[in-house]
């Protein structure tokens, strides 16, 4: 039965997150935007304690519990819940959101591809007293969306039973916090057989303090400046054999690579949720500013009777709502284990476009106010763009959508 009611537990958690966004994020948004690479410890510690006190290790969905005896099994809502929370946090501040301890992309990879032992070993650290961070290192200077061009290698030293990792990684979100500021880890993608192409690609967990891994640079960015984006070098970095996620042998298939891509089925709609959060913040501010100037939006009129500003805002609202519904649907599918790569990419394409357009138009519509750093609008304009870039650019996601719609494989539609 088609239903759009937000589940009660989600509403409740959103109320809490909204309080955080209003009181802990918005007041420091500008400060951390202007003090790039300063770590927002107050916010991090507060969130770490809050998440712990709720009994969680991160915001990520927990393993599904089996149905309670006698009771009816409730449909899973973990990803939908996460999507709502992320939307609200991004509404607060998209950069600060990325500074949350635990449960980022590295954990997602461990959760998706790790064995029960690995999950225990790597994920239990988030329950400690101090906040701990994780990160994912996939991109290389010459390998962005084209992950088959990854050059990092992992060679098994059979004598010591260790993987020896070599390579250079860039654009590692929270890499510094994961390796230097906490006892976290980075999930590094490398090839165990460069002749095998994507089939040889594997993920390795590299823990903080491992010799041979170094953070060499922090990027200076257009937006989300409070979030550290690290460059990492691995030089004969040795990790135990058990740190490989997935099978250590190369089969003649791209299963390992597809495993990595499957992570995106959940993470892409989460990026879409970020986009929606930023767009909602923007639209709300825009309407508030207009209201101060006596302009209220007359919904229901034919376009011929609307002012340009009204038309723009109404179009933005329709687009924003549609983006959110695509996001929720993709997450609902993830929760219900319905194969969703097409819908996940659709959500990201649409929400990425929506937030970029909405923030750009809002800066224009508010004229000198919009361009000024007095308001957060210009910051959101800068923050928004990242959602159309990371976890697959808008173009890569269009390619994914098109392949699924047309029934083409990668080599048929390049």
């Amino acid at each position: 039965m088609i239903d759009f009611e937000t589940p009660k537990p989600i509403k409740q958690v959103c109320n809490v997150v909204e309080t955080v966004a209003v009181n802990m994020m918005r007041p420091v948004s500008r400060y951390f935007d202007e003090h790039e690479h300063e770590i927002p410890w107050d916010f991090i510690n507060f969130m770490h304690n809050a998440i712990r006190s709720m009994g969680g290790t991160s915001m990520a969905p927990k393993e599904e519990k089996s149905a309670e005896e006698g009771g009816e099994k409730r449909p899973p809502i973990g990803y939908q819940r996460l999507g709502h929370m992320v939307e609200m946090l991004a509404w607060g501040d998209a950069g600060l959101y990325l500074c949350l301890p635990g449960g980022m992309l590295g954990s997602a990879a461990v959760a998706a591809a790790g064995s029960p032992e690995q999950k225990k070993r790597f994920l239990s650290r988030f329950m400690g007293e101090k906040p701990v961070f994780d990160a994912m290192a996939m991109t290389e200077p010459q390998a962005g969306s084209d992950t088959s061009a990854i050059r990092a290698t992992a060679v098994l030293d059979e004598e010591t039973n260790e993987w020896v990792l070599n390579g250079e990684k860039i654009f590692v979100t929270a890499g510094h916090k994961a390796l230097i500021d906490s006892d976290g880890f980075v999930v590094v993608w490398a090839s165990i057989d460069p002749s095998a192409g994507r089939a040889g690609m594997r993920a390795f967990v590299v823990e903080a303090g491992t010799p041979g891994i170094k953070v060499t640079k922090l990027e200076h960015k257009l937006g989300i400046r409070v979030s550290d984006t690290a460059a990492i070098v691995l030089q004969d970095c040795r990790v135990p054999f058990e740190n490989i996620l997935g099978s250590p042998t190369v089969e003649k298939s791209t299963k390992g690579f597809k495993g990595a891509m499957a992570t995106f089925d959940a993470t892409r709609p989460i990026i879409a949720a970020q986009a929606v959060g930023i767009a909602r913040a923007t639209l709300e501010l825009l309407k508030e500013e207009l209201e101060k100037n006596g302009i209220t939006i007359r919904y229901g009129l034919p376009r011929q009777k609307l002012t340009n500003i009204e038309r723009e805002i109404i179009d933005m609202e329709a687009t924003l709502r549609a983006a959110w519904l695509l996001t929720i649907k993709a997450l609902w599918m993830a929760d219900n284990k319905i194969h969703n790569p097409k819908e996940a990419s659709m959500a990201k394409v649409y929400a990425g476009d929506a937030v970029v357009k909405i923030t750009q138009r809002a800066v224009e519509l508010l004229g000198p106010l919009g361009y000024s750093r007095e308001l957060l609008l210009e910051k959101w304009f800068r923050d928004a763009k990242i959602t159309d870039l990371y976890e697959g650019t808008g173009q890569i996601n269009r390619l994914v959508v098109a392949r699924h719609m047309l029934g083409y494989r990668g080599k048929e539609l390049r």
Binding site: D3, V349, Y408
Partner: protein, 364 residues
């Protein structure tokens, strides 16, 4: 709790309509468009699927319950086949659904059964008016009280089957508020003009109306003496048209996609070119996005949510832009062939443009 899964009953209805839409409506669409008429047996077959009958409670001789969600699911499928045919099949709903939503008990008992119990008959409604800035909430057709009657004056247009209609609802401004009035065929002062010639929808007979002092008994004001709220009627129409815009868009997408997978260029299929594939990805994404917008608005209507009317308006706003974008691109993907009337995409492009104009032409 979110769910995007239609119920089993809805699924069965969608399947039945889909078959009819493809095998009957789509198959007849081109000839109907060129000849300017839909075969009566085609309309009757669609009527017998029982969609409207199932939205009317037993008390008024129907066999179900109205649901806007079921309505948008059905409207999309009908329109996927052919828009003119879809509007024709659903035309009697323009009369019964507003009465069901806003009519007095006496009106429901009097007017709904004769429509629902019989074969398809032209019962209709007149909302649109011939002004560039036509606004359903600021009608220029007026109703004024004169003794025991309302007197209606004004011009209407785009009225389906007006020439043959047994009865219709005419919307007019009563002291600035849009109200419906039930008028039977042959009322004095009601003049049906010559059939309209339009950019699209040529298969659907649409007429202008002149109301020259048409006297309507007070009992025939929709809702009785107290009148009614027009907003839910307009909202139910907005979601229906939004869903139909999605249906037409989907038709254009599927057709152009199939063409692109067949057509060879430079040694590959044209769909293998990113320039085309990206268009297709964006079309598919916009359709899915706007379908959900229509679904949610319909769900809000069913739930009686306060913001339902606004969301219905947003859904139509989004869907009408999507319909224009998608149908235009479908023609573009076929290239010169898209411009030829042998293919349906040019028809859908003309229909696609209409959703910015059509108001009150369908309701669920």
């Amino acid at each position: 709790m979110y769910s995007f899964q239609p119920s089993e009953e809805q699924q069965m209805l969608i399947e039945a309509i889909k078959r009819y839409a493809m095998d009957d409506l789509r198959a007849a669409a081109r000839d109907a468009e060129e000849e300017g008429q839909l075969p009566p047996e085609l309309i009757e077959k669609g009527w017998e699927l029982g969609f409207l009958q199932a939205s009317i409670p037993e008390a008024y001789t129907g066999f179900g319950e109205r649901s806007a969600v079921t309505g948008v699911l059905a409207a999309e499928e009908f329109a996927y086949g052919d828009l003119a045919g879809a509007l024709a099949v659903l035309t009697p709903g323009l009369f019964t659904t507003p009465i069901l939503l806003a009519g007095s008990e006496a009106q429901k008992e009097q007017y709904i059964p004769p429509v629902i119990e019989m074969e398809w008959k032209p019962y209709t409604a007149a909302l649109m008016e011939p002004h560039f800035d036509f606004d359903p909430n600021a009608l220029k057709t007026t109703a004024r009280v004169e003794g025991d009657t309302y007197v209606l004056e004004g011009e209407k247009c785009y009225v389906p089957y007006a020439a043959d209609a047994e009865a219709m609802i005419v919307y007019a401004s009563l002291e600035g508020v849009t109200q419906g009035f039930i008028i039977s065929a042959g009322a004095e002062g009601l003049e049906v003009g010559e059939r309209m010639k339009l950019l699209g929808l040529n298969a659907l007979p649409l007429y202008p109306l002149s109301l020259k002092g048409v006297r309507v008994p007070k009992d025939n004001r929709l809702g009785g003496e107290a009148g009614h709220d027009f907003a839910p009627i307009l909202a139910a129409s907005n979601v229906a048209l939004a869903a139909m815009a999605v249906g037409v868009s989907r038709a254009a997408l599927d057709y152009s996609m199939a063409y692109a997978k067949e057509r060879e260029v430079f040694g590959v299929k044209v769909a293998q070119k990113q320039a085309i594939a990206f268009m297709i990805a964006e079309m598919g994404t916009a359709i899915e996005a706007n379908r959900l917008l229509a679904w949610e608005a319909a769900w809000m209507l069913d739930q009686g949510k306060e913001e339902a009317a606004k969301h219905a308006y947003l859904a139509l706003t989004g869907a009408m832009d999507t319909a224009m974008m998608v149908t235009d691109r479908a023609v573009q993907i076929l290239g010169g062939h898209g411009y030829i009337r042998e293919h349906p995409v040019e028809l859908w492009m003309r229909n696609g443009r209409g959703f910015a104009t059509f108001r009150g032409l369908a309701i669920v």
